[in-house]
C-alpha cells in the first residue's frame, strides 16, 4: 500500500507530548508495545509524523526503522494529516471528461497543496477519489459531507470561501 508522507512542519504541543510520554510509560514493559503505542499516538496527534515516530522509537528504545516499518505496513496508520475540511475530487470517467482535472488543478492552486496533502493551517486536505456515482452532476467534489456538482474551475474560490474561518 502506497503512503503519502506529509511535508507539513510538525506542530505538536507540549500537552500532546506529555500525553504521548504517559502512553509510552504505560506500555514500556509490554512485549510488542510498538503497535498499541502507535495506535494511541495517532489518537493524540491525528496522524503519525516522523517526529512522533522518533519520540516513540526513543521512548520504547526500539530502532526508528522498526517503528517506521510498522507505521507504513498497516493501512490504519496515517502519515499525513487530514484537514478540518477534506475535499475529495471525483476522478471517475464522467467527471474527468467534464473537467474534474481542471477543478483539481484550481483547488490545488487556490490551496497551495497537491492532492493527498493538507494545508499548513490544517484547514483543508485534498484527495482525488474514484467515481462516487454522481455522474449526472459531473464534475463533482465533496467537502466532508457536502456535495457540489456541475462545477467549473472558476466556481472554486467562492465555494472555498464558505469554509474559510
Amino acid at each position: 500500500m502506497l503512503k503519502k508522507i506529509s511535508s507539513i512542519p510538525f506542530a505538536g504541543t507540549p500537552e500532546q507530548e506529555a500525553e504521548l510520554k504517559k502512553v509510552i510509560a504505560k506500555h514500556i514493559d509490554d512485549p510488542g508495545a510498538v503497535m498499541p503505542v502507535l495506535q494511541e499516538a495517532q489518537g493524540i496527534y491525528g496522524y503519525l509524523p516522523i517526529e512522533v515516530q522518533t519520540m516513540i522509537a526513543e521512548g520504547l528504545n526500539v530502532p526508528l526503522e522498526e517503528v517506521y516499518g510498522v507505521s507504513t505496513f498497516y493501512s490504519q496508520f496515517a502519515l499525513s494529516p487530514k484537514g478540518k475540511y477534506n475535499i475529495s475530487v471525483c476522478m471517475g470517467t464522467a467527471c474527468y471528461v467534464k473537467g474534474s482535472g481542471d477543478v483539481l488543478n484550481k483547488l490545488s492552486e487556490e490551496l497551495g497543496i497537491e492532492a493527498e496533502e493538507c494545508t499548513l493551517d490544517g484547514q483543508f486536505s485534498l484527495t482525488a477519489c474514484r467515481c462516487i456515482g454522481a455522474c449526472g452532476l459531473a464534475p463533482v467534489i465533496t467537502i466532508n459531507d457536502d456535495v457540489y456538482g456541475r462545477l467549473t474551475a472558476d466556481m472554486i474560490p467562492d465555494i472555498l470561501a464558505k469554509y474559510k474561518d
Binding site: P31, M35, L38, G69, S75, G92, C135
Partner: protein
Amino acid sequence: MYRSNVLVCGGTGCTSSDSLKIVEKLKEEIAARGLEKEVNVITTGCFGLCALGPIVVIYPEGSFYSMVNIDDIPEIVEEHLLKGRIVTRLLYQETVEEDTIKSLNDTAFYSKQMRIALRNCGVIDPEKIDEYIAMDGYAALGKVLTEMTPESVIETILNSGLRGRGGAGFPTGLKWKFAAANDADQKYVCCNADEGDPGAFMDRSILEGDPHALLEAMAIAGYAIGATKGYVYVRAEYPIAVNRLQIAIDQAHEYGLLGDNIFGTDFCFDVQLRLGAGAFVCGEETSLMTSIEGKRGEPRPRPPFPAVKGLYKKPTILNNVETYANIPRIILLGADWFQGIGTEKSKGTKVFALGGKIEHTGLVEVPMGTTLRTIVEEIGGGIPNGKKFKAAQTGGPSGGCIPPQHLDIPIDYDNLLEIGSMMGSGGLIVMDETTCMVDIAKFFLEFTVDESCGKCTPCRIGTKRLLEMLDKITKGQGTLEMLDEMEDLCHYIKANSLCGLGQTAPNPVLSTLNYFRDEYVQHVVDKKCVAGVCKDLLEFSIIKDKCFGCSMCARQCPADAIKVTDYTAPGKKKPAYEIDTTKCVKCGACLPTCKFGAIVKG
C-alpha cells in the same frame, strides 16, 4: 422480576440505523408511563436478520418488530407494553398469518437454522456476565477445571470432530494436542478475530453478542494445553466488539473467572486484547502472531508450526472466534452430541454472513451439509426483483464461485474444496445475472494486490500480473492465449507462495475461469459483457421508436453525447434523440432519466 422484556439489537448493523436511540426512547416512554419496574429493556447482540434492522423483540410474547422507526416507539409502548395489544402493523410480516402470530422460530429464516455458536446472540445482554452465567455460562470451564484432566479435554474436542471455522478446517483437537505435547515455560492461546474478508461479519456478531463465550473457551484451551496467557487479536474497525470484549474481560476478572486460581483451583489464565490495524494478511496465523509481537505482520515459513514455535517462539494455538464459540457447548453436552450434527467429515454447524443479491441479508447458522439451495432460496428468501441466481461466492478473496449446477451439494469443507471453492470464514455473497464474473475476479484480485504483504515474489508480483491481464480482458483487449496464461500463472502462484494469502489468491480467477469460461470468451472474442458491467464493452443506445423526444436524457448527459435527430417515430410528436457513441463516456446517467424505457445498454 419483570413482566416484559424488550430486547433491542445492539449489533453493528442495527446500531448504524440508530437502534441505540431506540433504546433511549423506549426507556423514556416506559418511564413516562411508570412501567420501569415492570418492563426491562435489554440491548443484545445480533439477531441475524440484519436486512430488517433495527430489530426489537418483546417477550414473553416473542413479538418480532422489524425495521422499527424511532417514531413508532410511543405506539409500541402504549399499545403493547401498557395495554397488551400487539402492534401487528409493525411486526415482521412473515410472522403474521391472518389472525395468528407465528413464533420467530417458525419463519423461513429461522426454522432451518440451528444455533450453537450464535446461541446467545440476540438472547442475552452481552455486557452483563450474570446473563451469560444464567445461560450455563462458565459451567463448562467449571466442569473442565474440577472434573477433567487436560488430556480428557483434548480427547473430547478431538472426538467431537470440530474443525477450525477460520477457513482451512484443520481439526481443532489435533492442534491442541500438538501444542500440549510441547514442553515450554510459557505457552499461549490466541484468538483470531481479525475478520478481514470483504463481506464477512460472523465473528464480529459473536464478539458483540456473546463475548464471554470466547473468554470461557480460551480459558478451557489454556487449561488443555498448559497455557496461562491468551491474546485476542481483533480488528480496530470493530469498535463495539472491542468495547464489549474489554467489559467482558473486566467482569470475568471481578468474578474470579479469569486471573489467578480460577474456581479455587491452581489454574491461572489471563486474556489481553490486541488491536489489528487494517492488514488482511494478519488473518494468516504466523502473520497474526508477528503482529501481536508489535512488528510488521509478515508471515513466517512453516515448519516450525505455531504449536512448536509460535508467539514469542513459544508453543501457541490460534483458533478462530466461531471455533471457540462451539467449545463450551461441546464440553457441556459431550462429543457425541456434536458428532451427531453435520456430515461425515464436517461436524456441527457453520455460521454464514449472507450478502449480495439476496432478500434476507444477515447472519445464519446451519448444520453442516445444508445445501446452498436451502440457504439461498429458503433461509435467504431468494433473489430480489425476480432476477436469476448466477453464482454464490464463498471464502472471500481466498474462495471461489459456486455455479447454479452445484446448488444442491451439501455444504461442508471437503465438498466445497472439491468444487473449487472453500468454506472460508463464512462470507457468502449471492450474485445474480447482473454480476459480471470477470469483474468479480478482478475485484478480488484488486483486493489481494493491495493486501499482499510483499514478502514473497509469487504473491507480490504474480497477483499484480494476474490483475493486469484481467484488466485488459474487461477492457476488451484480452486474447484467448491470455486465458491459458492466466491459468498457468494461477497454479504457479498457488504452488509457490509462502502463506495462505498467496496460496489462495488465484482461487477467484481459477473458479470463474472454470465455471464461467464462456463469459471470459465473450469478453475476449465478442468484446461483450452480457452482465452489462464492464464499461469499456458497453454501448448505450436509444431505441428511436420508443423515444418521445422529451430531451431529459440529453440534459442529463455530462458528455454532451446525446443529440436530437430528424426522425420522428410514428405516433410521437417530437423527433427522437440518439447517442453519439464516440462521445459517450458510458456513465449511465441517461438511463434512469428515461421514463419510456427507450435507452438500452448492452
